[in-house]
Symmetry: C2
Subunit: 138 residues, 2 copies
């Protein structure tokens, strides 16, 4: 994660305690927190951090391509730090749990030119939906 902080400093980021804490919270695989969860976890370490700062920092990290914004349920957006490895999401329709998955094939290649209607297509998101083992057995 200090990698990330170094990269950010290289891009002219001013390194503040708040930004450091937000970046630390997002460290790890299979992390998909909402902005509010990030704020709560950040506040454990830095109690006076404000929600606005968390939103600002998340927005900047998204712009810089360091994290990905995921809205799987039409409720709060979630933030996925695993931005440097192409992957898709598998979401439990009941409890909202998200798993990163790696389908075979390239979905972008599945959209033929005549189905692009003149768009410059640059990205594709695939969201699989189902019931997770936990919820299925409950």
């Amino acid at each position: 994660m200090s990698d990330l902080l170094e990269r950010l400093r290289g891009r002219g980021w001013r390194l503040t305690a708040q930004r450091r804490v937000v970046a630390e919270v997002l460290n790890g695989d299979h992390v998909h927190y909402t902005a509010d969860e990030v704020h709560a976890k950040a506040a454990d370490r830095l109690p006076e951090i404000s929600r606005a700062t968390v939103y600002n920092t998340l927005g900047e990290l998204v712009s810089l391509g360091e994290i990905i914004e995921v809205s799987t349920d039409g409720r709060a957006k979630r933030y996925d730090p695993n931005a440097h490895h192409a992957h898709q999401h598998l979401v439990c329709a009941r409890c909202g749990t998200i798993r990163d998955v790696h389908p075979s094939g390239d979905p972008l290649a599945d959209l033929p030119a005549e189905q692009r209607f003149g768009f410059e297509v640059s990205a594709v998101e695939v969201t699989y939906r189902g019931i997770c083992p936990n919820c299925a057995s409950a």
Copy 2:
């Protein structure tokens, strides 16, 4: 669209003026309105219709599988009446325009069993993102 109203009546739906108007607003191809847009258009014909009723009716239509809920931007959900033909979405990252598209291949088949982590996978959504011709030339 009277097809739809007949189907709904067959399912025990009480047919009210409000529900009729909402169903009419959603008639057509490539329609992707937000709940608020549906409410505004419905209110053109039936000025006293309330937002709660629009939300209720949209929710029921989704449960019945007559329309699909799409959240492409983390803001308002949009409602797609084209529920009986499998299709995916192509979204302009700048202006938010949505087009229905039909990729080749079956994305569900691209998720191997060992990538399903015990989930019962029942659906997949694919969202292509890019810049539409309009925004590209602006």
